[in-house]
């Protein structure tokens, strides 16, 4: 796995198509994600973002085209693709009846980690879930579920993570927490493919942005490159008003939130994978 990861981009997609009867969801999608970078797949609802993620995570077979993850073809070598990846789907993939800790232990055991207990405690701490660890997930808020979901995806230190609309349905505070986590992942060298319908999310997080529209990639580039597609900026004088987000966060935000976020461990999780 290490030897493979030295070669080529983490994800390469060429001419990917997928249709459901008359509905052509993907009409030839091409993009690449360099190792250790964050690509945001930006698109409105129904653009085909989830379909791309499902194909890349071996849950769905494409009609045509090639998708290579970590050097392995998703159709011909799905088992090899599943080893380095982790999927955080659109809906939190957590078990409601189990506790937060049990959910993490479940994934750690399925990844055949030795001594999963220590790693799980560390993740609970990192994602501020220690106090809720013994509670059933059914009692968790949306933000807590999402944090647990992402923590579960990080077990075993997968080098490639898919995040399908990770902040949809979250309140602003929880959204900032998720952004923080994604940045930490990338700083630790993880490749992240993120889908989102929020422009600011792509702007905040991504090294490159690919805009998916009606089953095709319209443009693909860095934020600066995308901005050059439009006429150069003109200078206008606008009264600086606080945004509603500024007001909301000033009123309800925990005063020590930034400090606490900075204190959290950044980067890769030490693991003891035996594979």
């Amino acid at each position: 796995m290490i030897a493979d990861s030295a070669r080529g981009p983490a994800i390469r997609v060429q001419g990917l198509t997928k249709s459901y009867k008359d509905l052509h969801v993907l009409r030839g999608v091409d993009f690449e994600v360099a190792r250790g970078s964050i690509l945001a797949l930006l698109g409105s609802n129904g653009a085909g973002k989830t379909t791309v993620v499902r194909i890349l995570s071996t849950l769905l077979k494409p009609d045509a085209g090639a998708a290579v993850v970590n050097g392995f073809d998703v159709v011909r070598q799905p088992a090899r693709v599943r080893e380095p990846i982790s999927l955080t789907g659109q809906f939190a993939a957590v078990d409601e009846i189990l506790t937060g800790r049990e959910n993490l232990m479940l994934v750690a055991r399925l990844r055949h980690l030795k001594n999963p207990g220590a790693l799980v405690d560390e993740l609970l701490d990192r994602f501020s879930l220690t106090d809720a660890a013994a509670r059933k997930v059914a009692t968790y808020s949306g933000g807590m579920r999402r944090r647990l979901d992402i923590a579960m995806s990080m077990i075993g230190n997968p080098p490639i993570i898919f995040l399908d609309e990770p902040t949809t349905g979250l309140d602003p505070q929880a959204r900032l927490d998720v952004w923080q986590t994604v940045k930490q992942l990338a700083d630790g060298g993880t490749t992240v493919l993120l889908t989102t319908q929020y422009l600011d999310e792509a702007e905040q997080l991504a090294d490159r942005i690919a805009i998916l529209h009606q089953g095709r990639i319209l443009v693909d580039g860095t934020l600066a490159e995308l901005k050059q597609l439009l006429p150069p900026a003109t200078v206008e004088y606008v009264e600086k008003q606080p945004t509603l987000e500024d007001v909301f966060l000033a009123l309800v935000g925990e005063p020590d939130r930034d400090g606490a976020a900075d204190d959290r461990n950044v980067g890769a999780v030490p693991t003891t994978s035996d594979s």
């Binding site: 999927l87 939190a92 479940l106 055991r109 594979s275």
Partner: protein, 264 residues
Amino acid sequence: MNTQVERITSRSFTHFLGDTAVLTGRSLRHITRSLDTIITTTVMPIAFMLLFVYVFGGAIESGSDSYVTYLLPGILLITIASGISYTAFRLFLDMKRGIFERFQSMPIARSGVLWAHVLTSLVANFISLTVVVGVALLMGFRSGASVLAWLAVAGILILFTLALTWMAVIPGLTAKSPDGASAFSYPLIFLPFISSAFVPTDTMPGPVRAFAEHQPVTSVVNAIRDLLTQQPVGSDIWTALAWCVGVLLIAYTVAMATYRRKIS
């Protein structure tokens, strides 16, 4: 080369066992944390047992000393039929929620996901069957059957549960609604009524009797009844085993094919 292949095969088989054990542990927690599902599973068979023994039983000529003893095998099958609908229901919920996709995108033995539900069904049904037999004992059920005969009864019940559970996997994978996932078990619950479970088949009119005598429940009920009442089991046990194994193989094949189509 050959040894390498063997090593990989044995490693993946160990992984299959390990993964299945972990996933079974998970779904067993679902059972122990919602014991009400076990109670609802046993309420209906126990109600039937009370109704038939204390209301209709006096008027039924079963040709047996104790009607509750005569009735119990059929009640046990009804218990299993109502129990396996929860397997379909739980599998359906897993499919609908993201957790199923998480498992499918992980490097685990994929069939372990189904086996975990099937093994959990065996445990859950064992608990409900124990509860039902306990109630039957209170109602006067007695058996002088040997340990070997009881083991044979347990073996038949396990095979019957396995066959019906793999059948339940199919609607669990394909249903569009939770009601649809569990509704398939209703005909299975009523199948024992047109069998030798409650009354001897020879009082039934021609076509009904022909159906009753040649459907699987009758041979299974007769085999268990003979074992419990220390009668010679005759050919019924072989017919019963053939039905169970046949249904099991077909249900398993169809369920696995459905699963592969669903996840690819």
